[in-house]
Homo-oligomer: 311 residues x 2
């Protein structure tokens, strides 16, 4: 049975109906296999994003190595605070602070060195609530949607505000999504030669794609070149991707994960009176737009029998 | 028999050997299917690029429509010359002239309107030498390479200095390469809403990716995220893509098409004493690098039994 971790209800039914309508050759809304494109936001849609994005944890963890390589950073903010381990102060960092940390920890190295480092980190780092590798914090019901769509000829893409190079390292193993199907925020790279004349690419402190809000459909056009048939998100950053998807002709599926289960995961909005969040904002007007335009809101509390596979 | 339009010789043998080495499970150089990536330049590698790139013909053909929409362009260069039909003068246009024409004919419309227009044009326009649709000016031997690689589990990509949005319109029908596997020079697009609130994307006069020279491996990283196992080009603009491909570990195939058949197609270099060309330069030092680093040069004259399918 597909979608085993989903309770029966309108959300599960919307997925089943959409797949039936677009893959049954006798359906008026049949979609040829090559046009079956489904896009998924990552943080908060495929895995836990609270209390802090996993990639931000990576960057903070990498500060000591960055300071070792450039000792002059040790006495400079925001690096000084990161090294002090004062989490209350870190939580209050400005966007400029986080940008400085991103530049120090995500740029200046070869793409291959970066990949190797993320690979080692993701294999060993653990979150603080469950004390498990981050790759175990994926939502079992969404894993089932990925599999179910692929089993029905859909090509599944991740379209994330997170770093494309970062997510590509583990997306294949974790989600079955290969690197070429990960679309994310991207820094430019520069081609050059090492001392032996071997070419390599260096990660540069230059934002090429900002894959949030309008940047999502813009990057979908650049990287995929087709309007998705189905899209999944959980925050205002996914609004334009869902609008772009839903406004195409024929059957389209637009879904939003609402984090309303404070016991099994986290509860935040501020849609539906849930507490406001700095990470992954789901506003009431996004909720209202979903209801008005025929998107489906997934209640984690009511629609998901199980949230995390290890529960 | 694969590669039926190829004469027996080192070029054909290089392709057969590479595919055998990377797909035979008992081979020491076996490559898992998901890593089988092959990239192809388009102009001069998959189809004829002389005497003028097809996309430039499109832009020139679109000038009257652009002038109709913006009548003030009629009296301004370079549009005035294009409207006069003075081909000798057009042939002497500067890069700035061509940029002005590109901005006028490739930007300001929705991505959907642009696609529809290219689709109509490519179905009706004909070249001046053979009086045939441009889509018939594809090299039969290269079509066989595309098919042969795909039949052996390779994912084939186009990596072109031409416009990504332009090539995507016909690449699936002509080469069997779907939009998401066409990487090319790209203008930015901007997300917005029409008067009915329906979202659409507008093509902007802002160059996001320049897919020539170092831009090719840089875009391969952005769009594919894997180093190709095989790459095919025909000019100095493909040099870095071939270097990047060939310098990976294990079996790698790097091939350059040399246009040395003035009778059946065109002959230009200046490698090997062939005449210099404004379009698709193949220098002697590129030829020397190929010989030194184990790339394979394809002689159209000697290696290809047939060049164009309609011959």
């Amino acid at each position: 049975m597909p979608l085993a971790s989903w309770n029966n209800g309108p959300a599960k039914q919307a997925i089943l109906d959409f797949v039936h309508a677009t893959t049954d050759p006798s359906s008026k809304e049949f979609v040829p296999p090559e046009e079956r494109i489904a896009t998924f936001d990552q943080d908060g849609t495929l895995w836990v994003e609270q209390p802090i994005y996993t990639q931000v944890v990576y960057c903070l963890d990498r500060v000591p190595a960055a300071v070792k390589a450039k000792p002059e950073l040790a006495g400079v903010e925001p690096f000084k605070t990161v090294l002090s381990g004062d989490f209350e102060k870190i939580a209050k960092f400005s966007l400029a602070d986080f940008e400085a940390i991103a530049v120090a920890t995500l740029t200046g190295m070869s793409t291959e060195d970066f990949e190797a480092d993320v690979k080692a980190w993701i294999a060993s780092a653990k979150d603080h609530r469950w004390e498990r590798p981050y790759t175990e914090l994926t939502y079992q019901p969404m894993q089932e949607v990925l599999s179910f769509l692929r089993a029905n000829g859909y090509k599944t893409y991740i379209v994330t505000g997170g770093g494309q190079d970062f997510v590509r390292v583990y997306a294949d193993g974790l989600y079955g999504v290969p690197p070429e199907q990960v679309v994310g925020s991207a820094l430019g790279v520069t081609f050059g030669y090492d001392k032996d004349g071997r070419p390599f690419l260096t990660k540069e402190p230059k934002l090429l794609l900002n894959d949030n809000n309008a940047g999502k459909p813009e990057s979908i056009h650049l990287m995929i070149g087709r309007r998705p048939r189905a899209a999944f998100g959980n925050s205002t950053g996914d609004r334009q991707m869902l609008e772009y998807t839903k406004s195409g002709d024929g059957a389209r599926l637009a879904m939003l994960v609402l984090h309303d289960d404070s016991k099994r995961e986290y509860a935040y909005g501020p849609a539906q009176g849930l507490p406001e969040s700095k990470v992954g904002t789901f506003t009431q007007d996004l909720y209202d737009e979903a209801k008005k335009d025929g998107w489906t809101v997934i209640s984690m509390k009511d629609d998901w029998k199980r949230i995390l596979a290890f529960e």
